[in-house]
Point group: C2
Chain length 110, copies 2
DNA sequence: TATTGCGCTTCTAAATTAGTAGCGATACTA
DNA sequence: TAGTATCGCTACTAATTTAGAAGCGCAATA
């Protein structure tokens, strides 16, 4: 499975290709979740696996490779952690928490 | 395939369950993209299909059902369109466009 | 030396997604 | 009125992705 990256586009076209790559990458199961779990700091392979409800190691490993290739995640002595780019992405996603609560409320009102 | 919704959680637990449901829902192929394409207004079934690179009608139909169940999308006389909730979600995702450009730049540098 | 835990790899099964064909309905055209 | 076109969508099979279990090789510890 290849990693979706934005640079395959025609330069200067700006027809939304970069964000489509974001949707493609984040739209794969576990990718958002993995990055989210790393917001607070580094995690080991098995720690990350556990924090993601015991996702299978084969999938985790392939995700790590993709996210690393996309420069959102890096391997360090402390374990896996976000790159600066990964952190800014999570900052952008942070407001979703508030939205999620609203969503929950609306759905509760059946 | 069942729709991930936040209300299955224990009330008041607030252990991030709602946002996990968001990740689960948006982490399915095409869901973000479909909502994104509807930002500017309603689209017909085939119009939506075309704007999503010709995604298969069977998948599109199942996505429409999920997003409708999640109250993010609704059917109107004009076609499929975002609900108010869906629009606020897209507002939250809008900053991703800027981030995507930065990401593109970083990846361009070797 | 034995045990424990680690980061993975390998394999098969299950689930999801893709893709093609086409139905029944409506609308417009010759 | 018969033909054509387009629509939303269904039904089906094939391809791809994800799940899940087992366990290897390595390092640290007992």
């Amino acid at each position: 499975m290849n990693t979706p990256l934005p640079n395959k586009s025609v330069r200067g076209s700006d027809s939304g290709i970069a964000i489509m790559a974001v949707f493609d990458l984040l739209g794969r199961k576990w990718n958002m979740r993995i990055l989210w779990q790393l917001r607070q700091g580094a995690l080991s392979f098995r720690g990350l696996q556990q924090s993601c409800d015991g996702m299978s190691p084969s999938v985790l490993n392939s995700r790590i490779k993709q996210l690393n290739e996309a420069k959102l995640l890096q391997t360090t002595e402390q374990g896996y952690q976000l790159t600066a780019l990964g952190m800014t992405l999570m900052d952008k996603l942070d407001p979703l928490r508030g939205w999620a609560s609203e969503w929950e409320e609306v759905l509760k009102q059946q």
